[in-house]
Symmetry: C2
Subunit: 343 residues, 2 copies
DNA sequence: CTGTTAGCGCTTTCAG
DNA sequence: CTGAAAGCGCTAACAG
């Protein structure tokens, strides 16, 4: 095609990013014709269409997404706001999200808040500035109300909460039935006839902590069971507190997350009390194999939660009327040391 | 300010996204004046400037990043392309990256390749379409040459390779001195006077595997030491292979990653041979605490690698002449069970 | 069937 | 000191 050589003999396709205008000039047609041909608009003649497509392929034309999205008033971007890249759970969640994002031909920008409310607000503002079409949000520990999400309402940017959340109406959330499962844990604990037990919870701001505490509490029916409720936000803190409790004769432990479970088991190990200690809790089962101990745990699958949250978000993005709903992902208690982390 | 009420009595700031044009109309000045005032251009009068700024604040004006970036021909976006959200190492790397990205007021889009070359190519194309200003790339296992990065050269999009990489010139990379450290591991192994040892490597395509193998090989000076070289890409696979080798009397193990180390230790545990087995390898020290065993390991810090790679990328983005260089991050051999994962 | 035109929100010459 | 106008790349009425 002699047309390519408008700009001299060198193959310009390898030099700069080709635009629709370039193609238009080379083929001496208008930009709109190029635009239409490239998206198979029925108006364009077959012959011209193939000429255009061939040249585009030859020159590696590929549309400038920024321009397209800017023009269309949407970014094909979703914002994923989360506290931190914990090693447990979160990587799986992101995996699930990225799968759905891919399916929908979107991209995701990830904004860590480091568990700071101020950074969460910043993150939301940035999402607005970048015109994201939707937001997936795991709240920071500091967040106690959702006032800062109002702007998203105003701009009609849908948001789905996952993992961390707080009691609230009007927002779509993906949860597991924390209350019920914690209650079941307590029931299992009771079957062991342990007189002194402890329930390890996460940050006290979190509804997730409250719900799991409530559930556990209502599962303990024996009035003579002595229950300690403890908050811990790291494995190290959990270990310290577990050590103290063990010295006081506590031998049954409920841990609401992998973080605290690891601490509890480390304490039991350190005291050589693995065999006389009963441990149960919430885990995704990926950390357990590292522990070399079997425990009962409520299995919650990060990937499934990520996928579910992302699908809900895209439903909201696509549907005109934004109806919020709360989805409960199913879980069950299993005994692990389970599967190996895949790959 | 009566001006706000141009659109009736309701406060429009909570209804739609305010633009420069809106402000201009309300204050009866031109958009360019608004634009200049908001960025403290010296041309604008002090009084007008404050009037504009006040109104902007009141109405929560915040510029449309898409438009700004589109106009300026850059996206303030970097692409982070990586195989998968492994639980080891990668979350820390992303943490490091996100820290630097934040410092530079950028955002990052994350594109997982699932270790597929085809998806790696897609990811690169998407980065170009989104006009990212730079790319951080951890190669997939399938990638054996860098031909598909040529387009980045043409478009002058800088790229920094980290973690996974292959032997190549002309690209900026962040590495640790794999060869030297693997050699040191072999030397430590030799001090134990073990007759049968095994070196567990990752995927055979990876230069990282080759370099660590070479290093280990050259550290073994005793001709009578019998060395098995094994490739494994998951903990499960490593465990199986380690079991077989233990039956053959192998009692010294080198593991080039957390993944294989976990498998090796699980095998030793299963065979009740923890005490008669020597294990050394490469780790970030975060998995070790879960293992309850102490081992010698080459400590490589994901966060530092992520930060270093990101800083190099921003250097390239900012500097006019793109000079590629290879950076070696320092490492040392420590004995772990080390620190707890922070938080 | 194809071209012209206007415009997404913003910045930046160039005038005045 | 301020305004008018052009344009980044693309799309979609509206004409013809």
């Amino acid at each position: 095609l002699a047309n390519i050589n408008l700009f001299g003999d060198q193959d310009i396709s390898v030099m700069i990013k080709i635009t629709i205008k370039d193609l238009a000039k080379m083929l001496k047609v208008s930009p709109s014709t190029i635009s239409r041909a490239l998206k198979d608009h029925p108006d364009i003649g077959q012959e011209l269409k193939t000429r255009i497509k061939n040249l585009a392929k030859e020159l590696n034309y590929s549309p400038n997404s920024m321009a397209v999205n800017f023009r269309k008033g949407k970014s094909k971007l979703i914002g994923v706001i989360l506290p931190k890249f914990y090693r447990n759970f979160i990587p799986d969640v992101i995996d699930g999200i990225s799968f759905v994002v891919d399916e929908n031909q979107y991209q995701m920008i990830i904004l860590p808040t480091n568990d700071l409310l101020s950074k969460e607000k910043d993150a939301i503002q940035k999402c607005c500035d970048y015109c994201v079409d939707g937001i997936l949000l795991a709240l920071s520990n500091e967040t106690v109300d959702l006032g800062h999400l109002k702007i998203l309402d105003d701009l009609e940017i849908p948001v789905v909460l996952f993992d961390k959340s707080i009691e609230t109406d009007g927002y779509t959330q993906v949860l597991i039935d924390d209350r019920l499962m914690a209650e079941r844990c307590a029931q299992k604990m009771e079957q062991k006839s342990i007189s002194k037990v402890a329930a390890f919870l996460g940050h006290e701001n979190l509804t997730i902590s409250k719900r799991r505490k409530d559930g556990f509490q209502s599962g303990i029916l024996n009035e003579h069971t002595q229950v300690h409720y403890v908050h811990a936000t790291s494995s190290a803190e959990a270990k310290e507190k577990a050590l103290t409790l063990m010295e006081q004769g506590v031998s049954g432990f409920f841990g609401m997350s992998d973080e605290v479970l690891v601490g509890i088991l480390a304490a039991a190990k350190a005291q050589n009390k693995i065999n006389e200690t009963y441990v149960i809790g919430f885990s995704d089962g990926k950390t357990i194999p590292f522990l070399h101990e079997e425990i009962d745990y409520v299995h919650h699958d990060g990937k499934e939660i990520g996928e579910t949250a992302a699908r809900l978000l895209f439903d909201l993005i696509k549907s005109p009327e934004k109806i919020s709903k709360v989805i409960q992902v199913n879980t069950e208690i299993v005994r692990g040391k389970l599967e190996w982390p895949k790959k």
